[in-house]
Symmetry: C2
Subunit: 193 residues, 2 copies
């Protein structure tokens, strides 16, 4: 790991703990054992650190989506795949994912534009899976925009719940929760005695 990567990871940890605006470059310098000004031999600016964390994370999520799509699985299996993927992202990159989700609004205006384009691309591809499942009869989705957001918000549990639950419990419970929420009740129209 290069010194730059080391600094970027330390920055992600601090941005998560204290939030981006409340993190000072002096905090960061102390964490990596440098004098404050020495940081600038490795990185351009504080803003640049946030940019790299958010953009790298955005591309990782898009790579996961790519793998999901080329697998040609059924929509329900694709949903399971995506939930597992979000969980693994949160486990492997807890700080980056938190910063990606909660601190992106502090990106500079031009970077923010690029970032939102990536987010939108992900959203469209996620909704396509939901709609495909709906058309096939696997899902029952009356308002795909809202359902998409509900699923995404549900998955924030992976990085917001800390280490309170086992990774496996979380994965299973979240998949079940979402599956129930978007699957057409198989008893619809069948009277239950």
């Amino acid at each position: 790991m290069t010194r730059k990567q080391e600094i970027t990871r330390a920055a992600a940890d601090l941005f998560r703990q204290k939030g981006y605006p409340a993190t000072s470059m002096r905090d960061l310098a102390a964490k990596v054992g440098l004098e404050p000004s020495s940081i600038y031999s490795h990185i351009r600016s504080k803003e640049d650190l946030l940019t790299q964390i958010c953009m790298e994370c955005a591309h990782m999520f898009l790579d996961g989506m790519e793998k999901c799509e080329v697998s040609k699985m059924s929509p329900p299996l694709m949903m399971d795949y995506l939930v597992d993927f979000h969980c693994e992202m949160a486990v492997r990159h807890p700080s980056s994912v938190t910063v990606f989700n909660d601190e992106w609004r502090f990106l500079s205006p031009d970077i923010l534009g690029q970032f939102l384009k990536l987010r939108k691309a992900y959203e469209i591809r996620f909704k396509d899976i939901l709609m495909k499942g709906h058309r096939k009869g696997d899902f029952y989705i009356s308002h795909v925009d809202i359902v998409f957001e509900l699923i995404i918000h549900s998955m924030t549990i992976f990085y917001k719940s800390g280490k309170r639950y086992s990774e496996n419990d979380l994965k299973i419970q979240v998949k079940e929760f979402i599956k129930r929420a978007i699957t057409k009740d198989t008893a619809d129209g069948i009277p239950v005695i």
Copy 2:
């Protein structure tokens, strides 16, 4: 509305927009048309503003829970009531609710303790409703702690989605989503032809 209330509301708006650490008392002064130092004739400190916003919100949620409990409704109706209540909180107090949810970690340590006690009390009462519904057979909940968090995270859509959807669409969709997610599939064990 007193001058103090006016300042507190303006503070909630700014804390939501920019985050607590990134909001300066000079921003706030400009917003209410005062010189920066004049703010301190009405409030004690920046920290105090955050405290009042978060604590007031916490008590409002507990009041909602109180009303829900005394109604003696069935657990499914209580869930609908709570979802509607969260939605109305977000509609009526969008800034306060956002600050309550996203900025509470910047509370000073002693206030943070009080705050977390209120949050925990709410959580326990919410889970009691879920467990009661489970025992009655209305719900199917295999891990109440995780399900509680999933429901709470789902409801953040009310203040995170801005004005993208109508209040009524949101309410209906969120209630349906959660209801499906925690209701035992009535076809369980019934073969579907």
